[in-house]
């Protein structure tokens, strides 16, 4: 019943979820069951890479929810992703225990190196998995709530809002670079050993993280579908199309914006938390403004306001990036810029609308012929 509402008018979404399901089944088999010399074998490196892409796709969906539906262009969503990542990183650091280089039973290596005597108060509790998982969503959510409340209440919108979100992520980057903050300074958090008792180096753990990322992506997709197909979702698109009218119809626009911004930040935090154990490090460069801008490009390329388009955009652009940065390391930024320009000019609704765009083009050709 619920699934019918979520997916009936969503052919793209059904295809997306089906493809995701197939990949989630095939990749673990190809990695764990197929012998390494088989042509069907998928290396553990590839599994981790795909897992990373799935996290990016979840992040892209989170951005599409606020940008594509509510019309709020956040250029700082990478910050929420990074905060979720740091919360997970803190848990992984506490899991190292006395296996660090300095062998301290409680303090992470970088704290011993800085001659710290005891754990800062905000590191307490992160040794517990459930607490860390709670922080993964609560910390980004709380920041988004406070930031959103201040900005939306003052009716900051459009490009002004985008700029202050850039400033937010930039400020966080500078703060996290400082050793005094207690998050490992520019080295960040790394040298993770295990998660829930499973070694992070083991292929089976990699596969498990990949599968969990895929489930999180599918779950995040369905949560966002639930939101956008509800009356709340219709209010959000109404705000995007005519904010004043929504206000004069009696809705508190600020409440809706804060709500969706917070939910989106929590999803981004979850994506970050799944990303960190798969890449093995989290450091302040995750906060850099460029990351958030790249994220906007993924969503624009995939097509905003469709959710699955955003996820596909993230997958496609990151695949292109990992190929291009190996083949032509200097060309990537130009390619990214060109991609953004081309999509904005030719495919305003992104690649997910490409079929329709091609049809329009052909129709025009036929008419002229």
């Amino acid at each position: 019943m619920l699934f019918r509402r979520l997916l009936t008018d969503d052919r793209g979404g059904r295809l997306f979820l089906a493809a995701l399901g197939v990949v989630t089944v095939i990749v673990p088999i190809a990695n764990l069951v197929m012998p390494p010399d088989s042509p069907l074998h998928v290396s553990t490196f590839t599994v981790a890479l795909l897992g990373k892409f799935l996290c990016y796709a979840l992040l892209a969906i989170a951005l599409d929810l606020v940008w594509g539906y509510a019309g709020i262009l956040s250029l700082g969503h990478g910050a929420f992703f990074a905060l979720g990542g740091y919360a997970m990183g803190m848990h992984l650091m506490r899991q190292i225990g006395s296996r660090g280089v300095y062998g301290h039973p409680e303090l992470p290596d970088f704290m011993v190196f800085l001659n710290w005597e005891k754990l800062p108060w905000y590191w307490h509790g992160f040794d517990m998995f459930w607490f860390a998982m709670l922080m993964v969503v609560l910390v980004p959510g709380a920041l988004a709530f406070v930031f959103g409340w201040l900005a939306f209440r003052s009716r900051v919108k459009g490009v002004y809002f985008s700029i202050i979100t850039q400033a937010m992520t930039y400020a966080l980057m500078l703060a996290f670079f400082r050793n005094e903050m207690g998050f490992g300074g520019n080295n960040g958090l790394t040298d993770f050993k295990d998660l829930l008792g499973a070694s992070l180096q083991a292929p089976s753990t990699r596969v498990a993280l990949f599968v969990v990322s895929a489930i999180a992506l599918a779950g995040g997709y369905l949560v966002c579908r639930y939101i956008v197909t509800s009356r709340l979702g219709r209010v959000l698109t109404a705000i995007r199309d005519s904010e004043d009218r929504v206000r004069f119809v009696g809705f508190k626009v600020e409440h809706y914006k804060v709500w969706v911004f917070t939910v989106s930040a929590m999803l981004a935090g979850l994506a970050g938390a799944l990303y960190v154990p798969q890449v093995g490090i989290i450091n302040p460069t995750e906060f850099q403004p460029l990351n958030s801008i790249e994220l906007v490009v993924w969503v624009a390329v995939g097509g905003r306001g469709t959710l699955y388009g955003a996820a596909l955009g993230a997958l496609a652009v990151n695949y292109a990036k990992s190929v291009l940065t190996v083949e032509f390391p200097d060309a990537w930024l130009f390619a990214l810029g060109a991609l953004f320009v081309i999509v904005t000019l030719l495919l305003p609704s992104g690649v997910s609308d490409a079929a329709a765009a091609i049809k329009r083009l052909l129709a025009r050709r036929l008419r002229h012929a």
Partner: protein, 277 residues
């Protein structure tokens, strides 16, 4: 457009005037003095320019009032003050006898029963006509409620009624963005109606309409008066002549003249600033 009998709408200005919208927090407007809207000495200045200069306007319950005036006379600013978009520097604004409009924001004023139609038709172009009305007519407007809300039979009835009044019933499932200019204007009026407003503020309803559309709009607005109080701001003098009972002329942020259309037309001051053009 043709249907002028509306039963579910609370009638104001009649014996049943005490039935309209009740807001648990803000209370029901008390229209004991007969006024639905009471503006007195409203002054608004932008960078030293006085958009409104001691404006006073009293609108009776159930009345259809036309407000005219040359560009810059302060008509839109007046609407902004009433709906909470602009805060005046001085003056008082009451809805009924007790509700101080100057203490409320736009959504609060809207849920009290003051509906506003903008000069440019503003509808939610990506939504269907029905969805536009669903949002406008939603009885509860909170975020968490909206996440789980379903349209109730009562809401649907009210929407169908509004669709019939403005003549858009056969367009219910079309995206609002595909409607003609006139149809958008009517949809916007229907969006006000499903909110059960007591006071409708309508800014230039016939701008850009064809003659036939203008006539239909005139008929619509006159049919609404009595059940609702209606304030229409309009430039089109023929249109005003066709619907007006009482006209207020604004000039430089003040009321220049007020009265029946025939008297207004012959007032030399009015002729000088406006009608003589």
């Amino acid at each position: 457009m043709r249907e002028t009998t509306v039963t579910a709408e609370p009638a104001i200005g009649t014996e049943t005037a005490s039935t309209p919208i009740f807001d648990p927090v803000l209370g029901t407007p008390d229209i004991g003095q007969g006024w639905i809207l009471y503006l007195d000495g409203i002054t608004v200045s932008f960078d030293g320019f006085k958009a409104l200069d001691g404006l006073s306007l009293y609108v009776d319950a159930g009345e259809l009032r036309c407000v005219i005036g040359p560009n810059g006379a302060g008509k839109t600013t007046m609407m902004d003050v009433i709906t909470g978009k602009t805060r005046p520097d001085s003056g008082v604004a009451y809805f009924g006898r007790r509700i101080d409009l100057l203490k409320l924001d736009e959504p609060e004023i809207a849920s009290l029963g003051i509906g506003r139609k903008f000069q440019k038709p503003t509808v939610f172009s990506g939504h269907t006509v029905l969805e536009n009305l669903e949002l406008a007519g939603a009885p509860r407007k909170g975020v968490w409620h909206a996440l789980r809300a379903r349209m109730s039979g009562e809401e649907r009835d009210r929407i169908d009624e509004a669709l019939a009044i403005v003549g858009l019933a056969q367009h219910a499932h079309r995206p609002a963005g595909q409607l003609s200019h006139g149809q958008k204007q009517w949809l916007e009026i229907a969006m006000l109606l499903v909110q059960r407003p007591q006071l409708l503020l309508i800014d230039e309803p016939v701008a850009g309409m064809t003659r036939q559309e203008t006539e239909m709009t005139a008929e619509l607005l006159t049919s609404l008066a009595g059940k609702h109080s209606v304030v229409v701001v309009e430039h089109d003098m023929d249109f005003v002549r066709s619907i007006a009972r009482k006209v207020t002329v604004l000039h430089e942020g003040r009321v220049l003249a007020e009265g029946r259309m025939e008297d207004i037309q012959n007032d030399p001051r009015v002729v000088e600033v406006y009608l003589g053009e």
